[in-house]
Structures are given as structure tokens and as C-alpha cells.
């Protein structure tokens, strides 16, 4: 009997991966106790993560065909979508665990709402990566974006994050208007708005299709915070709580990058679309690496620094996608995983150590050794040092770029690593070689709980760097069906 239920759950795994966090959000809203609400939220997010991870194992490691059941909501999991859903759902669960000490997660008034919004954001992004129709992708992504804005509104005290929340909302709204126009152009060119049709459609106007795909992607590039379009990230992150920073900076940005990879992976099959798209993505990626690195070097707030560093790393992901080959898409998936792990380690360690400005990072390794370790591994991975997952992502990009003669992309990634030595090296120097001069923020009771995700992310950063076989196999399997081989 239980085997039958298990088979049924496996058959509908994509739907359950979406529903688990959404049902958890509804349940969290109904429970007034902050602790119980958080526990229900973590359990539902963990259940969703387990199901999405099991689906990824079956599809990407055991080479099973993704379940394609008519669910009434039109899901069509492809390789990139399955990989993305697993990564996003795991990040959502870890973000919820690490966000336990955030003020909004401990407030008796706001905790159920904050936890529900975090779950809603995660569920929305997962739905966007698995949806078969571009309209559903847009709706799910916008729902997740609005939930993230709501979470930022709740974070902090004395209306601290409202200004950043409004900037974030307006940036996302501009992106969604561009996406709606892009979808209309795709419809005009091909008469079909399903994701799979991007690769198959015989467009009457390839130019219109290319502009349409470009507009759709630009909407998500804004949401990914990629410079120069990520003008909202500075004000949004400087006053965000740990929960909001994790849900926006890890779950949101990783999801937006995965959506870009997924849509581009389908669109690159059309040579008329692929050429212009490759050029545009490469230009934005290169610009993002330069602008994000410079902004990160100048940042004085740890969360803001991490956000700018993430924008620079996201530029690297766009470069991978711009290659348009299976190797490029595989490199993008590895890079995004590295970005997620490094950001999780940094944000969670900052929360556990009560670190806000860089001054409060001084001497972290002495007063909170484990948080210091997490900051160190996060920083080392951002630099792309060997034996970390960050190195793995950059190495795969260099391999793919050299394969098509993109030597300038190798130069851009070298610049990204050198710039990271300045901004990420400064984190290590402050945490290990300075004494505390400014009192850190007061830590709540749950800082030990917050340490667990930080350490888990640190272990992943190093363990996958040392034994990368499983991740590389999954990324290669996810990307194998897409792109045009050089």
C-alpha cells in the first residue's frame, strides 16, 4: 500500500515539489505561535526539497525520463528545470532554517506572515522553473517576486527596509512589463507560448522572436540583480534581515538565473535567435562582472558586499549561458550552485555572528570560530580558489569558452577572481587578523540554529570542490539536451 503511495508521489513529484511549500505557507499563516509556524514552514520546505532532490536524482543521475503527467497546471520538467527545482527548494529550506533569528521570524505579529511569504516565494520560483507555458512562468515568477518584496517590507525595524522594498518592487515591475511585451512579440512571431516551442517554432519573423526572447530575459536579468540593471540591490540588501537576505539574495537571484538559463537553453536552438542573444548576454555578463566587482570592493556593509559580489558572479553565469553550447549551460548550472552555496554561507554566518557592517566583522573568528570558518569558505569560493566549488564553476566556464575561442571571457573571469581577492580577501582579513572595535548586533537565542546552515554550506563548498563528480554529472545531464555544440 505504502509502495503505491510512493509511486504515486514519484509520478507527481513536480507538482508535489511546488505544492509542499505552498501548503506549508497556508499552514504557517494559520498558526499564531512563531516557533510552531517556523517549525511547520521548515518541515514543508524540507519535504519539498526532498521530493525535488529525489526527482533530480532519478532524472539526472539515473537517466529516467522526467514525469510528464497532465496536472491541470501544465508542468513540463526538462533537465535544467529539474536541476533548478532541486537547488531552489534546498535553498528555500536552508534559508528558512537560517532565518530563525530574524526579527520578523520571532515577532508574534509578523512571524507567520514572514514564514508564509518566504515559502510562497520558494514555491513560486520552483513553479516557474517547471512550468511548460511562458505565461505560467511569468505568473509564477512575479508571484514569487511580490512575496519577496513583502518579506523585505517586514524585515528590520522602524520601517528600515521600506525604501529598498519599493525600489525592488519598481525594478521588478519594469522587468515584468518588458517580459509581457516580449511574450507578445514571441506570440506574434511563432504563434506559440510554450517553453518547448521556443526550440521548435518556425518563426515567421525570427527578428521579432529574438527581440521577444531578449525582452523576456531582460525582465529576469533585472530580477537577478545583474549590473547595470540591478540598481535595486544596494538599498534592498543594506537593511534586509537574514531571512529576507537569504530569500532574495540566494533563492530569488539563483532562481532568476536558472530561469534565464532555462529559457535561453530552449531559445538557442534557433540560430537566428541564438546569435543576437549570445552577443547581448555576453555584453551584459562582462559588464556585470566589472560593475559588480567594483561595487563589492567599495561596499562597507557585509550584506551589500555579498549582494554586489553575487551580481558579479551572476555576470559569470550569463557569460556561460551566452556560449549557447551544452558545455556552457552545464558551466552555468555549476556556477549558479557555487553562487548559492557561497551566499548561503556568508549570509547565514553574518546572521549567526551578529555581523552587519564590515567593522563588526573584525575578530569574528575569535568570538564565533564556526561562523568565521563559514565566512572564510564563502569568501574563498567567491575568489574561485582551487578545491572549492567556486573554482569548479570557473574552470568549467574557461573550458567551454576556450572551446569556442572566447579568450576574452577567460580574461573576464580572471578579472572577476582578482577583484574577488580584494573584496572577499578583505572579509577573511577582518575576521581572522583584526580585533573587534565596534559592538556587534545583539544575537537572538537561535544563533546556534543559524550556524548549522552556514556550516552545511561551507561543507558543500569544499566537499563538492574535492569530489565534483556527482555535480558535474548532474549538470552535464541537465544541459545535454540543449544548446548548439561548437
Amino acid at each position: 500500500m505504502s509502495a503505491d503511495w510512493l509511486d504515486l508521489a514519484r509520478l507527481h513529484a513536480p507538482l508535489i515539489a511546488i505544492l509542499a511549500p505552498l501548503l506549508g505557507a497556508a499552514a504557517s499563516l494559520c498558526i499564531p505561535s512563531p516557533r510552531w509556524s517556523w517549525a511547520i514552514g521548515v518541515l514543508s520546505a524540507a519535504a519539498g526539497a526532498l521530493i525535488a532532490a529525489e526527482l533530480a536524482v532519478r532524472v539526472l543521475w539515473l537517466n529516467e525520463t522526467p514525469p510528464n503527467v497532465v496536472e491541470g497546471v501544465m508542468l513540463s520538467p526538462d533537465g535544467v528545470g529539474v536541476f533548478a527545482a532541486a537547488l531552489i527548494s534546498v535553498c528555500t529550506a536552508i534559508a528558512l532554517i537560517a532565518g530563525v533569528t530574524s526579527s520578523e521570524a520571532q515577532s508574534s505579529h509578523f512571524a507567520p506572515l514572514a514564514i508564509a511569504l518566504a515559502l510562497f516565494a520558494g514555491g513560486g520560483w520552483i513553479a516557474a522553473t517547471l512550468a511548460s507555458d511562458l505565461i505560467l512562468v511569468l505568473l509564477a515568477a512575479e508571484t514569487a517576486w511580490l512575496a519577496s518584496v513583502g518579506l523585505l517590507v517586514l524585515s528590520g525595524e522602524r520601517h528600515a527596509a521600506l525604501n529598498g522594498a519599493l525600489r525592488m518592487l519598481i525594478a521588478g515591475a519594469v522587468g515584468s512589463a518588458l517580459s509581457v511585451t516580449g511574450l507578445a512579440l514571441i506570440w506574434r512571431s511563432s504563434g506559440d507560448l510554450s517553453v518547448a516551442a521556443l526550440a521548435l517554432a518556425e518563426a515567421t519573423s525570427p527578428w521579432g522572436e529574438a527581440v521577444g526572447v531578449g525582452l523576456v530575459l531582460s525582465g529576469w536579468i533585472v530580477k537577478a540583480g545583474v549590473a547595470p540593471l540591478g540598481f535595486w540591490i544596494g538599498s534592498a540588501f543594506s537593511r534586509a534581515s537574514v531571512l529576507a537576505a537569504l530569500c532574495i539574495g540566494v533563492v530569488g537571484i539563483v532562481s532568476a538565473l536558472m530561469l534565464i538559463a532555462r529559457i535561453a537553453a530552449h531559445a538557442f536552438a534557433m540560430p537566428e535567435v541564438g546569435g543576437g542573444l549570445s552577443l547581448a548576454l555576453a555584453a551584459i555578463g562582462g559588464l556585470a562582472i566589472a560593475a559588480g566587482s567594483v561595487q563589492a570592493i567599495g561596499a562597507r556593509n557585509l550584506r551589500r558586499l555579498a549582494a554586489y559580489a553575487g551580481a558579479a558572479q551572476a555576470g559569470g553565469v550569463l557569460l556561460c549561458v551566452a556560449l549557447g553550447s551544452p558545455a556552457g549551460f552545464a558551466a552555468a548550472l555549476v556556477q549558479t550552485t557555487a553562487l548559492a552555496a557561497a551566499m548561503l554561507a556568508l549570509y547565514a554566518a553574518a546572521g549567526a555572528g551578529g555581523v552587519d557592517s564590515l567593522d563588526t566583522l573584525d575578530g569574528l573568528a575569535r568570538r564565533a570560530p564556526l561562523a568565521g570558518v563559514a565566512v572564510m569558505f564563502g569568501a574563498v569560493s567567491l575568489i574561485g580558489a582551487p578545491l572549492t566549488i567556486g573554482f569548479l564553476g570557473r574552470w568549467r566556464l574557461v573550458e567551454a569558452a576556450v572551446g569556442v575561442g572566447w579568450w576574452w571571457a577567460v580574461g573576464a573571469m580572471t578579472f572577476a577572481s582578482l577583484a574577488a581577492v580584494f573584496y572577499a580577501g578583505r572579509l577573511i582579513e577582518r575576521a581572522y587578523f583584526r580585533h573587534l572595535r565596534v559592538a556587534p548586533a545583539a544575537q537572538g537565542d537561535g544563533w546556534r540554529v543559524m550556524l548549522a546552515p552556514a556550516l552545511l554550506a561551507s561543507i558543500v563548498l569544499v566537499a563538492v570542490g574535492l569530489a565534483p563528480g556527482a555535480l558535474l554529472q548532474a549538470a552535464d545531464a541537465a544541459a545535454s539536451a540543449f544548446g548548439v555544440a561548437p
Binding site: A165, L166, A173, A177, L178, V180, S235
Partner: protein, 101 residues
Amino acid sequence: MSDAAYIVGALMLVAGVVGAWMSANLIKRLVGVAVAHIGAILAAAAVGAPQALLIAGAAIGLATVAVGAAIAVRLQEAHGTVEAGDIDAVDRDADAKEKAT
């Protein structure tokens, strides 16, 4: 007729995006967002896009402007202004005070 509607929609989109990006007043930014969304929907309708896309675009635009208006009201209550420059200055002062203490 549909070509004219398409051009008007595209112009509204561009004007709205520029307004949302460049304006110093938060309410004007929200108006820019609304104009951009209306332009996008008009352009989509002009090219015969499916109703689902038009309804989705309208729902997203409406929800965004509603949430944005709520945040703008809270900002007005907290800071007494909806000028982005003034609010940024208040935030900078608060940061400086926190650092000093």
C-alpha cells in the same frame, strides 16, 4: 488600427520605464510602472496575444501598483515625504547614527 495601437503601446512602455527609472518622486515612479504595464498590455493586445497573457499582465500590473502604493503610504507616514532623495538622506543619517553609537 492595430499598428497604431502597437506603436502607442510601445511608446507608453518606453515612457513608463523611463518615468519609473528616472523620477525622483515615488508616486511618479509608480505611475510610470502603471503606464509601462498598460503600454505592454496594449501592445500585446494589438498583436493578437492570447487573452491569458493580457489578463496575466493586467493582474501583475494591478498587484504591483497596489503593493507599491501601500509601501509609499508607509514611507510617507514614516518619513513625511515621498521624494526619493529625502528618504535616502534620512536612511544615510540613520546609518551614520547607528555607526556612531
